[in-house]
């Protein structure tokens, strides 16, 4: 069932729901530009991170990840 699944940890920048599109685009642009900074890249990589490649479809990414976690949770019957 999970043969080809992989599992890592990732870090994401998010805001509360229903943010105005103009603000979202401004922040997206700033994040993308910031992640190009040699200094920031080096510091993140030194901490063990791999810089994320630009993910154009965030909802798709989050949906895929969440359904993968759901499979593992179901398998192991994890409940708090």
């Amino acid at each position: 069932m999970l043969k080809s699944t992989d599992m890592g940890t990732w870090f994401i920048l998010v805001g509360p729901g229903k943010m105005p599109e103009t603000i979202v685009s401004k922040l997206k642009k700033s994040l993308a530009e910031s992640l190009q900074s040699t200094d920031l890249r080096k510091k993140l990589e030194d901490s063990g991170s791999a810089i994320a490649s630009l993910e154009p479809d965030m909802p798709k990414f989050l949906r895929t990840e969440t359904s993968k976690y759901q499979m593992i949770v179901d398998f192991a019957k994890i409940r708090e």
Binding site: M1, L2, K3, T5, D6, M7, G8, T9, W10, F11, I12, L13, V14, G15, P16, G17, K18, M19, P20, I23, V24, K26, L27, K28, S30, L31, A32, E33, S34, L35, S37, D39, L40, K43, L44, S47, G48, S49, A50, I51, A52, S53, L54, E55, M58, P59, F61, L62, R63, E65, T66, Y69, Q70, I72, V73, F75, A76, I78, R79, E80
Partner: protein, 198 residues
């Protein structure tokens, strides 16, 4: 906002990105740590804030995607956030205590397969990404180990170094110092880098 106390991988990542974005936007960004309940208290606080761009969360998959699947006290789901973008990812690593003598994945599988139920692995808590990774290893390789949830990685690290538990799953960055550091004289045998997520 960061859903963990200062010092962990999410905190470090958040602070680095905040500093760079502050420069980029020409504004001051204040980093606030609201730790507790696996990052979900800070995440909920961000969701309660005005969606005006002045309150943002640097979150990990724990509190953004996983927590809701496990804990009935988590009222939000990933769809409630406005995603700005992915920042980075880190591989997870399975480490073995010195006493096990395990140095490779093959040795690990052989040992655990031959002794079902005899060994335990630790994670930073029930339903954390590290716990899910441990369960994924069990499912993928058909082995059985008991999961021991710790209150964060620090007590787990102590128990592994003290040979009180056989295996542990870590975010690479929090295990590396103990694998490398000479003073620990290789107390951790680096076991396996779980497939990197990118």
């Amino acid at each position: 906002m960061i859903g963990y106390p200062p010092g962990g991988s999410t905190d470090l990542t958040g602070r680095l990105v905040a500093a760079e974005m502050a420069k980029n936007l020409g504004v001051t960004i204040v980093v606030e740590n609201i730790g507790g309940a696996g990052g979900t208290i800070g995440a909920q606080k961000v969701l309660n804030a005005e969606p005006d761009g002045y309150t943002l969360l640097v979150g990990a998959n724990n509190e953004v995607a996983i927590a809701r699947l496990i804990s009935p006290t988590v009222k939000y789901q990933w769809q409630d956030f406005t995603p700005i973008g992915l920042i980075a990812s880190q591989p997870l690593i399975l480490v073995a205590s010195q006493k096990t003598g395990v140095k490779t994945t093959d040795q690990f599988l052989k040992l655990v397969k031959a002794n079902p139920g005899r060994f335990s692995y630790g994670s930073s808590g029930v339903g954390m990404a590290l716990h899910l990774a441990g369960e994924m290893i069990k499912e993928q390789s058909g082995i059985f180990m008991t999961h021991i949830p710790y209150r964060g990685v620090n007590p787990l690290t102590t128990d592994l170094i003290g040979d009180n538990i056989e295996f542990g799953v870590f975010v690479l960055s929090s295990a590396l110092p103990h694998i490398k550091r000479q003073t620990c004289s290789n107390r951790y045998n680096r076991e396996e880098t779980l497939k990197r997520h990118t």
